[in-house]
């Protein structure tokens, strides 16, 4: 149990953090994901790779956490408020804002399945086939979602003026 957690904790936590964009929530969901994995280990087929199976559970946990969050109006309002403050901050001090943070913000505005697809592809470096298995969608759909995610993120960054800084 200890060795398994040590090996996969960064992987699991990274996905949770990118999906939830909240450190404490990501820690909670990562812990919950590990507990779920321990309970379901007897369902894992050893002939198949562990990582996609593990990330499937983590993705489902993230989805559930996002659904729960969406049902909490107070927390949602707080997130929107923080988001607007951050946007104001980015307008005045654009030069100091890290481009990775901008990408995180843009990612937060994506649809949940686009965001999951983007994170699994670029952060977890999974193939279209593996993402399709995790999300239970065909490869073509995954490719389309990734293309749309890239387009919307680029548009978002462009609206923030980040594109001029990067391409100059």
């Amino acid at each position: 149990m200890r060795a398994f957690t040590t090996k996969y904790q960064n992987l699991v936590f990274s996905l949770c953090l990118k999906m939830l964009r909240h450190r404490e929530d990501a820690e909670d969901v990562a812990q919950e994901s590990f507990l779920r994995v321990f309970r379901a280990l007897d369902h894992w087929d050893p002939s198949r790779p562990m990582k996609p199976w593990l990330l499937t559970i983590v993705a489902n946990r993230c989805r559930t956490a996002l659904e729960k969050r969406s049902k909490l109006p107070s927390q949602n309002d707080l997130a929107i408020e923080l988001e607007s403050e951050r946007r104001e901050h980015s307008k005045h001090e654009q030069q100091e804002v890290d481009i990775a943070e901008e990408l995180d913000l843009a990612l937060g505005e994506l649809r949940e399945e686009y965001r999951m697809c983007f994170v699994l592809f670029y952060q977890q470096e999974l193939s279209y086939e593996e993402i399709g298995e995790i999300l239970d969608r065909p490869q073509g759909t995954v490719k389309t979602w990734l293309h749309r995610a890239r387009g919307q993120i680029a548009e978002c960054l462009r609206e923030r003026g980040v594109i001029c800084e990067a391409s100059s």
Binding site: T5, L35, R39, L103, A154, A166, S167
Partner: protein, 262 residues
């Protein structure tokens, strides 16, 4: 490179996460107004992803293990007791509190023996243990198998002889009297223990052999019944002997207790 080749090269770069012919694509984007925007988006995402995909370090090991072994609270009594669909797999029984009742259910109670039979077994056990203890004390009594002149390894250098020399009596006069009285008490206990053990050997045949008692004893029941005595009658006679022997054993125990207290 034309615009179609530019698009296919860009898509392949996205799929493979690397751009093979960067100079050709870049030169086409510089010369083509319609493709420049796509190229700038590609460069922007490429630079953002370079820092965005940095691994995040976290240490969740202790937290996860603590949560895994944490006792799961039992559902409130009277409730549905079911799980929500998102709660996932059934809870394990690790550390799950178990309600302990002070009075077991009637089905779990062990059947109690009849009162008379239980008392008989209890007294038999007590008598047997007492005899075994006394027999062991008799068997390992100092001086019984080992004399003062014995040079066996059991005799330690500082061993005080049970029968000292006559010229040392003055020095150990009080000790000698005490040893003499103790020895006589032991002899009395041992002789009674041997006599009564032969009676109790009816209940424990192996005890008789353990104590080294002779096979021919007045209380021994003959192996083969006489021709005129039926097996039923013999068993009745055996049962009739038991209470008397138990009483004799109890008398013996009372004697022993009196001797030891005095």
């Amino acid at each position: 490179m034309n615009c179609k080749q530019f698009q296919s090269e860009l898509e392949r770069a996205i799929d493979d996460r690397q751009l093979s012919d960067r100079s050709a694509v870049s030169s086409h984007a510089d010369s083509c107004e319609s493709c420049r925007s796509a190229w700038q988006d590609f460069l922007l995402l490429e630079s953002a992803l370079a820092s965005w995909t940095e691994p995040v370090e976290i240490d969740l090991v202790e937290r996860v293990i603590a949560a895994a072994i944490k006792p799961v609270p039992s559902p409130p009594s009277g409730g549905e007791g079911g799980r929500r669909p998102d709660e996932g797999a059934p809870r394990t029984s690790v550390g799950k509190p178990v309600s302990v009742s002070t009075s077991p259910s009637p089905a779990l109670r062990a059947p109690s023996p009849p009162r008379g039979e239980g008392a008989r077994q209890t007294w038999l056990t007590i008598a047997t243990v007492a005899v075994v203890v006394l027999g062991a004390a008799f068997a390992f009594r100092p001086g019984l198998n080992q004399t003062a002149d014995d040079d066996s390894p059991l005799q330690t250098p500082g061993h005080i002889p049970l029968e000292p020399e006559l010229n040392e009596v003055d020095q150990y006069a009080g000790v000698d009297e005490l040893l003499a009285s103790t020895r006589s008490a032991w002899d009395g206990i041992a002789s009674k223990a041997v006599n009564q053990a032969s009676d109790l050997s009816v209940f424990m045949p192996d005890l008789k052999a353990d104590l080294g008692l002779p096979e021919s004893d007045s209380t021994t029941i003959p192996d083969e019944p006489s021709p005129e005595v039926s097996p039923e009658k013999e068993s009745r006679e055996k049962e009739s002997l038991i209470p008397g022997r138990i009483n004799r054993a109890f008398d013996f125990l009372l004697d022993v207790s009196e001797v030891t207290t005095t």
